[in-house]
C-alpha cells in the first residue's frame, strides 16, 4: 500500500535519474520543431495516409486480439490441463522474440513460398504486401499482451461469486458476461490498450512481411523510417504524433481502470 508520509530526499534523487532519462528524449521530440511547423508537417499526404492506415489496422488487430484472445485467456485462467505451461509459454513467446524475427517467421509461414502460403497462393489468396499482412503482423506481436492481461483479470475474479450466480440459476454464458467480465474489466481494458499501443508501434514484423507502400502498408512507424531518409521534419512530426497517441492511450487506460475497478473485500 502506498504510504502517505513524505518520501526521503535520497529516494527522490535516486529516482530522478531514470525520470530525466525518459523525459529528455521525449521532450526533444516535441521541442525540436515549433508547434506550427509540427502541425504543418502532419498535414502532409504521407503523414495523413500513414495515420489513417495505422488507425484502421490497429483497430482491426486489437478487435481480433480480443475476439481470439478472450477464450484462450479464460482457458488458461480457469482450467488446468496437460500442456498448460507449454501453451502459456507459447502465447508469451511473441513478446520476447524480436519483431523482425516474427516478420521472417510470418514470411516463412504465410509468404508465397511459405508453409501455408504456398497453398493459399494456389487459391489466389496471397497476403504479402497487402494491408491484411499489416494486420497479421500486428496481431501476432500484440495479442499476447491482451491474453496476459485478460488471463490475470479472470484469475483475480473470486470463483465463489461465479458459483453463487450459478446457484441462483444463471447459465455459464450469463455468469461470464454478468459476473466474470465486469469484475475483470479493468484488466481487460488495460489489456486492450496495451495490445493496441503495441500494434501501433509495430515496425519490424510489418517491414519484413508487409513491405513499405504508402496508403497500403506504410504505417506510422514505417512512415517515420521512410521520412527520416528524405524529409526529417515530417519524420519528427509523425514521431511526435505517435507519442501523443501513446500518451492518450495510457491516460485513457488509467482512467478507465480507475473508474471501473471494483473494490474487493
Amino acid at each position: 500500500m502506498a504510504s502517505a508520509e513524505r518520501p526521503p530526499a535520497a529516494l527522490w534523487l535516486a529516482s530522478s535519474v531514470l525520470v530525466v532519462y525518459i523525459t529528455l528524449p521525449l521532450a526533444a521530440l516535441l521541442l525540436v520543431l515549433p508547434p506550427g511547423e509540427l502541425l504543418e508537417h502532419l498535414r502532409s499526404p504521407m503523414a495523413l495516409r500513414a495515420l489513417w492506415l495505422s488507425v484502421k489496422t490497429t483497430l482491426v488487430a486489437t478487435l481480433l486480439a480480443v475476439l481470439l484472445g478472450t477464450p484462450l485467456a479464460y482457458l488458461l485462467a480457469r482450467f488446468s490441463f496437460r500442456g498448460r505451461d507449454v501453451l502459456d509459454t507459447l502465447v508469451d513467446l511473441p513478446i520476447t522474440i524480436p519483431p523482425v524475427v516474427a516478420g521472417v517467421a510470418l514470411l516463412l509461414a504465410f509468404g508465397r513460398r511459405g508453409l501455408l502460403g504456398r497453398h493459399l497462393d494456389v487459391l489466389g489468396a496471397s497476403v504479402a504486401f497487402t494491408t491484411v499482412a499489416v494486420v497479421m503482423a500486428q496481431l501476432l506481436i500484440a495479442s499476447p499482451f491482451f491474453v496476459k492481461a485478460a488471463r490475470a483479470g479472470f484469475e483475480s475474479v473470486d470463483t465463489r461469486l461465479e458459483a453463487a450466480a450459478r446457484t441462483l440459476g444463471a447459465s455459464p454464458w450469463r455468469v461470464f458476461w454478468t459476473v466474470t467480465v465486469p469484475l475483470a474489466r479493468p484488466a481487460l481494458l488495460s489489456g486492450v490498450v496495451l495490445a493496441w499501443a503495441r500494434a501501433l508501434s509495430e515496425f519490424g514484423a510489418t517491414m519484413m512481411f508487409a513491405g513499405n507502400f504508402p496508403g497500403r502498408t506504410q504505417t506510422l512507424t514505417l512512415a517515420v523510417m521512410t521520412a527520416l531518409e528524405s524529409d526529417l521534419e515530417t519524420a519528427v512530426a509523425v514521431s511526435a504524433l505517435s507519442l501523443g497517441l501513446a500518451l492518450v492511450a495510457l491516460v485513457a487506460a488509467k482512467r478507465m481502470a480507475g473508474r471501473w475497478s471494483v473494490p474487493r473485500a
Partner: protein
C-alpha cells in the same frame, strides 16, 4: 553506353533546436517570459548540453579504427576490402556500417561518427560535400541496373511482363539511389521504339513495396514474395542461382563515390582506406564483385 545520372533532389536542412538556432529564434514572436517559457528554455539548454556531451563521448579513444559508412550494394565487396586493409595494416580495425545511401547521409548530417562515406551515387556525397561534411568525393566504381526474378517458374519472363496487371514489382524508394536509377531506367524503357509509352506508368502501378535499400529489394525476390525487383547487376550476381537476371538494355549507370568525412577521428587512417579502395588492390576486388 549511356550517361550517368546526376539528379539533384531536395533535401531538408539539418534539424536544430530552437534554442540553438538564431534563424528560428528571430522568427519567434516576442512574448514576455512566462514561467513555461523559461522552463522550456532551460530544458532546451539542457538538451543541447546533453547532446554535445554524448557527441564527445561517442568518439572512441582508439585511433586505429576506421568507421566506414557504405551503400548496401557494396556489402560483399567492402567486407573483402576491409579484411584486406586489416591484413595489410596490423592493429588497424575497419568498422563497416551498411544501409541505403540516403540513410547513411542522414546519419552523417545528424552527427554520426563516420570516417569514410561510400555512396551509391554522386548526388548524396556532393550534397554532403556542399554542406562541408565531406572532403572531395571521388568516383571509385560503376554499376548498372538489372531486373531479378525468382528462380524456378516465374511470372515474369521478359521486361515487357513487368507491365502485366497483377505482377508484383518491388523497387527501392525514391530517396534511395537505386530507386532513382529505377525511375530513370523505366522512363528510358518507355521511349518510343523500346517498350512503348505508358510502360513506365503500368510498371509503377504494379509496385507493391518501396524498400529502404537495394538489398531489401533483392531479399523480397529471393524469398519469392515479389515477382520481380530492380537491383544492381552486382546484387543480382551476389544472389547466385536463387534469382534469374533480366538485362536492362540502355540502362542507367550508377556512379559510386567515396570520401573522407570532415572531422574524422583519424583522417590519415581514413585516407589510407580510401586510397586502398581507389588503388589497384581495391579496384581488383570491386571488379571481382561485378563493379566496373
Amino acid at each position: 553506353m549511356t550517361r550517368p545520372l546526376a539528379v539533384a533532389h531536395r533535401r531538408p536542412r539539418t534539424l536544430s533546436f530552437r534554442g540553438a538556432s538564431s534563424r528560428r529564434a528571430t522568427r519567434d514572436p516576442p512574448t514576455r517570459p512566462t514561467r513555461s517559457r523559461v522552463l522550456r528554455l532551460t530544458l532546451v539548454t539542457a538538451l543541447v548540453q546533453a547532446a554535445t556531451l554524448t557527441g564527445l563521448a561517442a568518439r572512441p579513444a582508439s585511433a586505429e579504427t576506421v568507421r566506414v559508412f557504405a551503400a548496401s550494394s557494396l556489402t560483399e565487396a567492402f567486407r573483402e576490402i576491409a579484411a584486406a586493409h586489416e591484413a595489410a595494416r596490423p592493429g588497424m580495425k575497419v568498422e563497416l556500417s551498411f544501409a541505403g545511401t540516403q540513410v547513411l547521409r542522414t546519419q552523417i548530417e545528424q552527427g554520426a561518427p563516420a570516417d569514410v562515406f561510400a555512396s551509391a551515387d554522386l548526388a548524396h556525397s556532393e550534397a554532403l560535400a556542399r554542406a562541408g561534411l565531406l572532403a572531395t568525393p571521388r568516383t571509385f566504381a560503376r554499376n548498372a541496373l538489372a531486373v531479378v526474378v525468382p528462380a524456378g517458374p516465374a511470372r515474369v519472363a521478359s521486361l515487357a511482363d513487368l507491365a502485366r496487371p497483377g505482377v508484383r514489382v518491388v523497387v527501392a524508394g525514391p530517396a534511395v539511389p537505386a530507386g532513382r536509377y529505377t525511375v530513370e531506367a523505366l522512363r528510358r524503357l518507355a521511349a518510343p521504339g523500346s517498350l512503348g509509352p505508358g510502360f513506365d506508368a503500368r510498371v509503377r502501378a504494379n509496385v507493391v513495396s518501396e524498400e529502404t535499400n537495394v538489398r531489401a529489394v533483392l531479399s523480397k525476390v529471393v524469398l519469392g514474395e515479389a515477382d520481380a525487383g530492380f537491383v544492381y547487376q552486382t546484387d543480382a550476381a551476389s544472389a547466385g542461382a536463387r534469382v534469374r537476371v533480366l538485362e536492362v538494355p540502355s540502362s542507367v549507370v550508377a556512379e559510386y563515390s567515396i570520401g573522407v568525412v570532415s572531422g574524422a577521428a583519424d583522417a590519415a587512417a581514413a585516407e589510407a582506406f580510401v586510397g586502398l579502395v581507389l588503388g589497384e588492390r581495391g579496384q581488383a576486388i570491386l571488379r571481382r564483385h561485378g563493379f566496373r
